[in-house]
Symmetry: C3
Subunit: 427 residues, 3 copies
């Protein structure tokens, strides 16, 4: 794994800053999150009114919460939203009541197998109220009457999401998408947000080939909203990556797009394999993060997903144990490095056509060949040129050349540049 | 292997009842066999006259036999057709003569490696006469003169075969074909006949999707006759299975169609693999049973073959040791069970089209989704719905969904039913 | 490996005879070589003038050399071209000078890791002069002044190559190509030349199906010249093989054509695999011998390369250790045998069409079937006929039949002959 770098520490600091905010699929928590991200990156923030039809869905009412607690007979708050945003069932309707523990239990969620952890639960599309708490907290609650209060609002408002665009040489786009709807969970998905932010900043330092569009949106309904509002853009989206769970200490996992052989699939697998990192490649499943929406059969975009330990694959998943200690600067730096390497390949993976395809062109008279034959030392640069010439038939791209030849992509790209400069190939 | 069931015993009883009859490719033995099968299933019996041109072949003369024996000088029948139909070379021309053993030997067939077994031999298309006997019987025959007599007739008549049709919801057909030309051999193919009979009875209890046509015909010439007389039906034959050697105690063997990737191939392989039964899958060869004819390159039908130990793969093959003890009720019940499971998959393996393919449809408002997010228990039914939605692009069928998802076909079929009921997919 | 045969010894004798000649890409060395080859095979020799444009290249000036040496102060020749043609840098410009060792060193090439070997070096397309010598010779040279003299000529002339054609039944061609530009190197490529010569002689003993064209040409520029001058012939070139390094004691190596699945690839791999020889199959690379030119993407011919130890794969490669002792009669006879076997398959690998594709044709009435059914001994000939009938759909050739059936190609070819004779299949 990559050593700790300034980036790793900076990403971790961003995670810690965003952690306390109570996010949900709508509401001020998302806005507060995007305000902070906006300090790092210029963002275009979109507000979509409640009731807007988005594909098969409707933008729901906006949820906001100010306070919530369970207090015992002495007024002591045994469960307090102020301590952790996880304590309230996401999208809880308001409640203000006094009830015996026996009745309250129907509204309490715990993790008996992890008695000190608080679970994360939501009920977005069915009106309910509830609290999440540690099993050991519940066990310590004596029978008796409790005051329960959730000071929340469900009302017409907006769904909020944001975009940041790094302009490229062409209008074809790569989208990088992160969900921003989870409350105090660090790996899922503040780490993904942090990696995306720093990736965008790096890409902006040069003009990449593709235009890179970063989408920060609530899960499911946010991605669906983006897709619904960008119908004309979809055909320009050539590749995409959903970033999530980007900071835990597990090995990297690439989940293929539904197509399975999209260019993004090949690039990520190539970079992970040739980098020597331990990693997994998983086939597409229609379960997980927003690749579900981007890869739905009507769109079927070439969008994969990069995580460390994948969706729901670790015990801390969707619990209070997914806190800033659970993610590491090194892991985030490593995820960022793979994204950087992958996009460097994707961005240069052109198909060329050999303009001198009958026999080899005479490289020597163009200054591209060492004229003293017979030296046995590896002539990687010349070999790369021969490979590019051999496979530049309009069918194969530079990644094909790298894979077939076993040469580093970098050497292949440099060779293509030299041949292009000599007029021997055209894009 | 499946436990003994009423079906297993009933199938074995049918095998025992059919066993003594002397069948051949034509003649009264086939008719007597079909009469008994007709007690279980209504049959349409076809009689095709000698001399009829059928594809590249001509229906031969009809062979019937009343008696045959080799008697020694005292008149004792040392070999007697009445004891076993195998004793006479199939299609023997008549003979009535006295000759020394030395001359007779040219007409005797034994199995020196299995001295107590009687081989099964025929000479359909070249006029010969002969006897099959145990090597130990031959060894006990002293030199001297023997009376040999075969009271057979080769004369113009008919080739006989039968069909039973289970009407389905569509006119597209599945054919199940069994050869009925072998004399006293239990596994080859009375067990196949018995399994086919009980399979047909089960299918008739409901209206299957496909129309199932059961063909009981003599090997080679019978299948060729059926193909010749059903030219207009062939294009409606979507799938088929040749059933043979269905009762020995060996593991199940599926032999692929010539196409190798026909739907019947995928279904049988899927059912055998997921059932956990030990089994083999063999590639097509142009040798074996009547799949040779159905899969000939002009027809190239999607017809596989299901046996237990395959064609010619056991020492008892084509000998008197292939008797009713060689087949077991359990094995036949197991073969029947696999056919039942396979046709249950085949019959429901539809391709659907997702009518809401842009993003996921909102399952929750249609009552198809558990609205309380975050529960970690496997939601197989929901996962099956997501998989069906994801792959219902007109290219993939439900078997593809089951294979790609790893979910049971049954769960996938149920999910497709629910989605179809909700108007989210169409067939 | 094959035992020593007359051919092995004869091929080795040819290698020894050709070995001393100083060949290069042009000049009298090539002509002297072709004169000797012409004693074995009638050759059509082509002379292409200097300056002729051939594809992207230009035929260079002709190089000839009469003498070359480095002499010490006493007049003693410490390095002498007369002892080995390797001593002079190929295509050296003339030089006649006296210079101190320190200055001379820039023009000296040695192999420090193999101090007794003389390397082979050239500078075809950049004017230089130089000597190659053993490191131990150099180590023994005291400081002081040396006379250096290279009596060479670089002048307008010709590039020389030759062809030998074995006429076949059809105009479609198989080319067998050997480079003839290397000076005193036995395996690379006098062994290849010798195998090609004896292969051509064998093929001429009958009329093969294809027309076989043997090309003896200098590497790179020679193949390019042949391609440039045979533009109209290229489309008739159906298959090809580059023969090189055909005599060392390593195992055989087949290098696939750029297409990777060309018929020549399948044939060579089939023959090597079924012959039981230890061997390697390497994927195409755009580096090596003249397959580079034949497989350049504009031509993309089905041309593979057969060597023993491949290009640059042995320490003796391009050194004085690649001498006649390095190649063996047995190895050359073995390479010849594989070529013979491969071309025997290639030449008969026809696609047939079954003229009786609906059901099996009745082989018995055509005398092609043993009418007495039930014999359990393998009936390979009949099985081969059934396989040919089954796969002769215009898509599959006899090699497909051999591979799918597991039957020997010979048996399949014989079966096809019988079926063709009976009018059951057509080519």
């Amino acid at each position: 794994m990559a050593p700790v770098t300034a980036d790793g520490e900076a990403m971790h600091a961003l995670v810690e800053r965003l952690y306390p905010i109570c996010r949900s699929i709508t509401g001020d928590g998302v806005r507060a999150t995007l305000d902070i991200v906006g300090e790092y990156l210029p963002l275009q923030v979109h507000e979509v009114p409640t009731g807007t039809q988005v594909l098969d869905w409707t933008v729901p009412q906006e949820w906001n919460i100010r306070d919530a607690y369970i207090a015992d007979g002495t007024g002591h708050r045994v469960v307090d939203f102020a301590a952790s945003s996880l304590h309230v069932l996401g999208y809880s309707v308001p409640v203000s009541a006094v009830m015996p523990l026996a009745e309250l239990r129907d509204h309490l969620h715990t993790l008996p197998d992890h008695p000190s952890w608080v679970p994360y639960r939501t009920s977005y599309y069915q009106p309910q109220w509830g609290f999440c708490l540690a099993q050991e907290t519940l066990d310590a609650m004596p029978d008796g009457a409790y005051e329960v209060r959730i000071d929340s609002t469900l009302a017409d408002g907006h769904l909020t999401y944001a975009e940041h665009v790094v302009p490229g040489q062409v209008a074809d786009e790569v989208i990088v998408s992160c969900h921003v709807c989870h409350p105090s969970l660090a790996n899922d998905n503040l780490a993904g947000v942090a990696v995306a932010v720093f990736l965008a900043r790096e890409l902006a330092e040069r003009t990449p080939y593709y235009t890179y569009r970063f989408v920060f949106a609530p899960g499911t309904i946010g991605a669906i909203t983006w897709l619904a509002r960008n119908a004309e853009r979809i055909e320009r989206v050539r590749h995409g990556l959903v970033l999530a769970c980007a900071g835990d200490r597990g090995e990297l996992t690439y989940k293929q797009s539904r197509r399975g052989d999209a260019e993004i699939d090949r690039v990520l697998q190539y970079v992970l394999r040739t980098s020597g990192r331990p990693h997994r490649v998983n086939a597409f499943t229609p379960y997980g993060y927003d690749e579900r929406q981007y890869c739905s059969p009507g769109f079927d975009l070439g969008v994969g997903s990069l995580t460390r330990t994948p969706y729901a694959g670790y015990p801390e998943y969707h619990t209070s144990a997914d806190n800033p200690d659970f993610v590491s600067p090194e892991a985030m730096a490593d995820t960022l490095a793979v994204c950087r390497e992958a996009f460097a390949v994707l961005d240069r993976n052109r198909r060329y056509v050999n303009l001198s395809p009958y026999g080899e062109p005479q490289l020597g008279r163009r200054g591209l060949y060492d004229s003293l034959g017979g030296r046995s030392d590896a002539k990687q640069a010349q070999l790369a040129m021969l490979w590019v010439l051999s496979l530049s038939d309009g069918e194969h791209g530079l990644l094909d050349v790298a894979e077939r030849s076993g040469l580093p992509f970098e050497a292949v790209a440099v060779a293509a540049g030299a041949l292009h400069g000599a007029g021997l190939i055209k894009a």
